[in-house]
Symmetry: C2
Subunit: 188 residues, 2 copies
């Protein structure tokens, strides 16, 4: 005997969750019922049609890509004095925190600081040599991290840069970065 209505609907939801690209026709075949039955089931379960499902998935994806992708630099650099100092802002959002406790993952704070340290130096290629960092207090979702960096020592190719990150004046992260630039032969 074939499945009861409830069983079929459960099966449907299951099937859709691991392949949301099923048409009504395919689902009908799978369940051994008519297309109309599947449509009624979808109505009852509030499942939109294939195209709508697909569109929603694509939209979610698109939004994410938009908000996240230009991560050439983590944080937004808002002020920059080459070889001297710079300021960058990073708003801690969903994607930066541990799901469990909404505390920012350390590597985002590091990334903001590192990006800023590298951005300050006016050269084609700048690499980090080493860093000594300290996470002074946990940062929570929604907090705005303002990192300030200043070059405190240099010998032309190597730079020592101090970065302090604050949330409302309060220091949450600080680090000392040693970065260096690769001199390229044909540079102007």
């Amino acid at each position: 005997m074939r499945l009861s209505k409830k069983e079929r609907q459960a099966k449907l939801q299951q099937a859709l969750s691991n392949d949301p690209f099923l048409t009504d026709e395919e689902m009908a075949k799978k369940c051994g019922v008519s297309i109309q039955t599947i449509r009624l089931d979808r109505m009852e379960l509030g499942i939109p049609e294939l195209r709508e499902r697909v569109k929603r998935m694509a939209e979610e994806n698109f939004d994410q890509v938009r908000s996240l992708s230009p991560e050439e630099v983590i944080g937004e650099v808002i002020e920059l004095q080459f070889d001297q100092s710079g300021i960058s802002i990073l708003d801690i959002r969903e994607e930066h925190v541990f799901a469990r406790n909404r505390i920012a993952r350390g590597h985002y704070l590091f990334a903001q600081a590192n990006s800023l340290a590298v951005a300050i130096i006016n050269a084609e290629v700048v690499l980090t040599r080493s860093a000594h960092i300290r996470f002074v207090r946990p940062v929570k979702m929604g907090e705005r991290c303002i990192a300030t960096a200043k070059v405190i020592d240099t010998d032309r190719a190597r730079f020592q840069i101090q970065v302090k990150t604050r949330v409302n004046q309060e220091i949450v992260f600080q680090g000392m970065f040693h970065v260096y630039r690769l001199e390229e032969e044909g540079r102007t």
Copy 2:
């Protein structure tokens, strides 16, 4: 006078790149030409129809979500002995490198090491206190970074973890991480 064919096609691609959900009809309106013209343009440019575009985006997303999404951790942890040691692999890809020279951004190496250091500790909430790190040599696109971490000191709530990252046996990054766990009141 309206746009030339080339200009229109350029405009089309532009428009689609910041809103891929445009129908032919909407694009026709935007460009002040007939739908048929837009279709011809799409043919020439090899742009699939709306539904196909949307479907592809959704599929990419779906695949990514399946394969990549648990990026709770950067790099793939392949071995883990709680409170003792761990190993993680990170393949350096496009998204990890500077576009200009294909050298990996420091913060990805840091993130791999930091994620691993935090993962090792068997507790609900583990945070990084400080780190002393050194980028021994630049890592290029395509290289596989294998990070090994071991706990070298602990006093129950605080841990000192050494992480070494290698590409083909050669050390490219090393760091000493101090992490700590938050004891939660009601833990078993």
